[in-house]
Amino acid sequence: MLPYITLLLLCQLAGEIITRLAGLPIPGPVAGMVLLFLGLVVRGRVPPELEKTSQGLLRYLALLFVPAGVGVIAYLDLLSHALLPVAAAVLPGTLLTVAVTGLVMQRLGRAAGEKR
């Protein structure tokens, strides 16, 4: 497991370095995800230990957002000044985005499936 935790960290580190040097508008971990993906494509298979390590981390992905989520309390003042527009835009806007993305993909995916 340890070698693969190291691998994940190395990809993240490489991602941070690349995005900073190239001034890319994406976060280091996302670039690291692309690097690992490319590595897997080149390798042609997923080492079983890497599978286990990534499953272990991803199983509790939701938990990892809790510390940042609680950060809302640091900005309650700021949020209270923008309460109406935030309340009106965030939930409906997000649900609309979810529905549009899902519907378009389902339609197009089905069309592509029929052609196959």
């Binding site: 938990l63 609680v70 809302v72 649900l95």
Partner: protein
Amino acid sequence: MEARLAALAPGLLHTPLLWLTLTLLVFQGAEALFRRSGAHPLSNPVLLSVAAISALLLACHIEYQVYFSGARFLHFLLGPATVALAVPLYRQMEIIRKSFAAIMVSLLAGSLTGMGSALALGWLCRADPRIILSMAPKSVTTPIAMGIAGEIGGLPSLTAVIVIVTGISGAAFGGWALDRARVKDPVARGLAYGTASHGIGTARAMHASPVSGAFAGLAMGLNGLATALILPALVSLLHIGALK
């Protein structure tokens, strides 16, 4: 009693032990409630955990920085966990190759809906332009969203909060919207979660199925890129900046 607690406090308050234990306990309790309620949207584990811990900190007058100094060890794992999304994504290589165009089109449609709906609804509420601009990048992951907000004239710290609220909204109620829209395909559901509500949505999608989780992770990354490229142009096109 209170005096004793106060004597205990300085030592424990500043150790990660207390905050990590609290976060793990609360989260597991929230997950148990989520399962018991039959995955009810309001019992989303991130929503419940954030609400419970926030209420506790506010009631005890504990600053967020104190909590985060301990809980940041969990927060740190978000980096390697994001990298780890490459593994389920690689497993979906076949679908990605076959449906590449469909993925790109739906991602773009979702990305534009996300930005457009925030701008339009904010404008309808006659919100301050700085607030509208802070809401526009709400669907993408925090570091990207804050960067864009700063660039287009929004308030990055307000954006950070709105991004979290967006993530939790999508994770909790996105499934309801997808059911109403009769989207059943796990690939489409995953893309929708990731496009609209970044990592928190991805965590929800991962919980539903590894296929959805993989595509949510992909959508999260791609929408971050799309929003960073499109939103500044869209804002200058609509002359929203001129209202500043």
